[in-house]
């Protein structure tokens, strides 16, 4: 069976192997033993609630219980920007109008901002290529929403996810080439190296600080503001279905969108339910014809576990098989939190692609 669970200390080897499978473009999962073991240590302290909520980094792994292999990872960082400034461009509007000349110009502007400081962030999702099938990708992404629904008091008001911005097939970014490059008098490879070390704030210090009119940029750069990389489009739709929106914040390098949501408006917070576990050996409570995949999680933070099950809840009860109960670490009469894996308006064909190309930075 496939389960997502809180990471443990002895997952280092498994995570290292997974990291070697990650290509470029994912700055937070590099095959570096020291970096990863540090991160695991922070994650374990997070699930154990040994460090303050705003310092936590919840790391989830996808395990194939048949062979004990770790085949995917995803994370929630409790708060961004508290160690070093977290920069974005915010798109604003300025109106210039003159009645005398009968001119009304509504102009988009870019403000270098740290407005998202303190938000929780979804990040570091990676699924092994061999397992990009069934519901694995969606489980890996959505497990985090159910976690937040179970422990909303651990999170700040807002949740964000940074998505990769538009690139040409050669990897170049028309936004960077027409904006950042002018202010960054340094070889691009060095910029890239620094950026991949997560040192974005160093680069932001060199970016223009006064508001910029978007109209100053060539059309090719204007057009990609808030656009995702073609491979990231399915991930964007999935997050939007969970209640995240593009609210005008973009990455300072490639103008990729930041999606954001109020935690209490998330689909999982609004619609997930606490249910009582009922054994499966008795007659089915719900109509098997109406079955649809449900995310089902236990309520333990320290040993958080979540699976996909096919039976619908009925009057506050949910039937689980013995194996499912074992994998979740629960038993009859335990409480579990559950919600449909797919949002009502999810176009199934699209989200099937999740996990294939999903790259969170």
């Amino acid at each position: 069976m496939i389960v997502v669970r809180a990471i443990k200390k002895d997952d280092l080897d498994g995570l290292m192997y997974l990291a070697t499978q990650v290509g470029d473009g994912m700055t937070t999962l590099k095959p570096d033993t020291e970096m990863l073991s540090n991160r695991i240590a922070v994650a374990c302290a997070s699930f154990a609630e040994q460090i303050p909520p705003e310092q936590r980094d919840y790391l989830f792994v996808l395990e194939d219980t048949d062979n004990g292999k770790i085949i995917g990872v995803s994370a929630i960082k409790s708060a961004v920007g508290l160690d070093e400034p977290f920069y974005n461009y915010r798109i604003g509007t300025l109106v210039h109008s003159s009645k005398e000349l009968n001119v009304y110009s509504r102009m988009d502007t870019l403000y270098l901002s740290n407005d998202l400081t303190g938000c929780a962030e979804l990040c570091s999702l990676f699924l092994h290529p061999d397992y990009r099938n069934n519901n694995n990708g969606r489980l890996l992404s959505k497990c985090r929403f159910l976690f937040i629904a179970q422990f909303p008091h651990l999170f700040s008001e807002k949740l964000i996810a940074e998505l990769r911005g538009f690139q040409y097939p050669d990897g170049s970014s028309p936004f960077w080439d027409n904006l950042g490059r002018h202010f960054f008098k340094m070889d691009f490879n060095r910029a890239d190296d620094i950026s991949s070390l997560g040192k974005k704030s160093f680069i932001a210090e060199l970016m223009p600080r006064h508001p910029l009119y978007v109209a100053y940029l060539p059309k090719v750069a204007q057009d990609v503001i808030g656009q995702v990389h073609v491979d990231t489009a399915p991930a964007r739709r999935l997050l939007e279905q969970e209640g995240l929106y593009y609210e005008g914040f973009v990455d300072i390098f490639d103008a990729g969108p930041v999606l954001q949501a109020r935690v209490n408006e998330l689909r999982s917070v609004r619609l997930s339910e606490l249910l009582e576990v009922v054994d499966c050996s008795a007659a089915l409570l719900s109509d098997p014809a109406a079955a649809e995949p449900m995310l089902v999680a236990n309520t333990s933070i320290q040993d958080y576990r979540i699976i996909v099950s096919d039976l619908l809840p009925h009057h506050g009860q949910l039937q689980l098989t013995l194996e499912q109960q074992q994998v979740l670490g629960c038993s009859v009469k335990s409480q579990v939190r559950a919600m449909p894996l797919n949002a009502k308006n999810e176009a199934k064909n699209e989200v099937r692609k999740i996990g294939e190309n999903y790259n969170e930075p």
């Binding site: 005398e100 000349l101 002018h182």
Partner: protein, 349 residues
């Protein structure tokens, strides 16, 4: 013989004729008969005013060819305003330098930016310079351009301590200004010549602050064309540019908000007419037919030192640097309307 004198009401027809030779977007001289009449009236009021601080005055001068007895004797005009912002705030772009520092990357560099500013509002402004057949530096063009400053040197209380001139910037054959395309057009939503027509060449109108950007414009974000046009002078303004830089004006700190053309500015002490002007007493040459001196090999501009009935012309003379008096020919005296014992201001050519 050429003289510069204050404009008179009777000059209006000649000015209207002169204005036919103006290029739109280049020359700041009044173009329509109504505007010319207003400028002349304002000038008459300005010269007649009793003032001891710079205010709304604008003094208009004409260049006259005394040897041309036809109706075309008036061949140029130039003006000087007591303050650029007399009727509002005068806007320009200031060339700022913004320092960008990243300690951890050990990088520190400066970025150029243009800031909409009102710094020149209290300066005195030279404008409206135009000379018929003016594509080379003729001495009379210099006379016309510099006579304004000689007037200012004679009546400093009427002007600011600082002067500037905004010269037309680069436009292509079609009247299209690359600097405007990259900047003003995005806010005004119209072509350069249309905008110049609507604002009537002014840079002191409130609509400018309504439409123009309030934040520094980072130069590296402008198109290459627009960056190249910054501070570049229109071919038709090269003559005044050369005259003014020779006079002591310097371009660097400010450019025009519409076409990016250079704005030349100077403290009065940096200007020849102030720094090297010699106030001397007129001494009549007894025998007018004889040469004033065989050593009269220096060229000077000479102007009346009085505030009313100002006149300026050119002459040859001996070196005047260590003298208290100057000998003028009767022709010059007549042109300037001065007599023995009057004071004149002489500036080396």
């Amino acid at each position: 013989m050429f003289i510069v004198r204050p404009v008179a009401t009777s000059d209006i027809p000649a000015l209207i004729e002169l204005a036919a030779g103006l290029t739109q977007g280049v020359h700041t001289m009044a173009k329509t008969p109504a505007a010319i009449e207003r400028a002349v009236e304002q000038s008459l009021r300005s010269f007649a005013s009793q003032t001891d601080i710079a205010g709304e005055e604008c003094y208009l001068f004409v260049l006259e060819d005394l040897e041309n007895t036809s109706s075309h004797s008036l061949i140029g005009s130039a003006a000087i305003s007591a303050t650029a912002g007399s009727k509002g705030t005068f806007f320009s772009f200031r060339n700022d330098v913004i320092q960008q520092v990243s300690r951890d990357l050990d990088i520190s560099h400066s970025v150029h930016a243009l800031t909409l500013c009102a710094d020149l509002t209290s300066y005195s402004q030279l404008s409206s310079f135009f000379v018929r057949r003016g594509n080379h530096i003729h001495p009379e063009a210099a006379l016309l351009s510099r006579a304004r400053l000689m007037f200012a040197a004679c009546a400093p209380e009427r002007f600011s301590d600082n002067f500037f001139v905004s010269l037309a910037g680069y436009t292509d054959q079609k009247g299209c200004a690359p600097f405007w395309e990259a900047l003003g057009k995005k806010f005004f939503q119209m072509d350069f010549l249309e905008a110049e027509r609507l604002v009537d060449g002014a840079r002191n109108r409130n609509l400018i602050v309504e439409l123009m950007p309030h934040y520094p414009v980072y130069v590296p974000l402008l198109t290459g064309d627009a960056q190249a046009a910054m501070g570049q002078v229109h071919p038709e303004s090269e003559v005044p540019f050369d005259l003014l830089t020779k006079e002591g004006f310097a371009a660097d700190d400010f450019i025009d908000i519409f076409d990016g053309g250079p704005i030349l500015e100077a403290n009065k002490h940096a200007l020849s007419s102030f720094a090297h002007g010699l106030k001397l007493q007129v001494e009549t040459v007894s025998d007018d037919s004889a040469p004033i001196s065989t050593n009269a090999n220096r060229s000077y501009l000479v102007a009346t030192a009085r505030e009313t009935d100002f006149r300026a012309t050119m002459m040859q003379s001996t070196a005047l640097e260590n003298t208290q008096t100057v000998r003028l020919s009767s022709e010059v005296m007549q042109a300037l309307n001065v007599i023995d014992g009057d004071h004149v201001l002489c500036v080396p050519w």
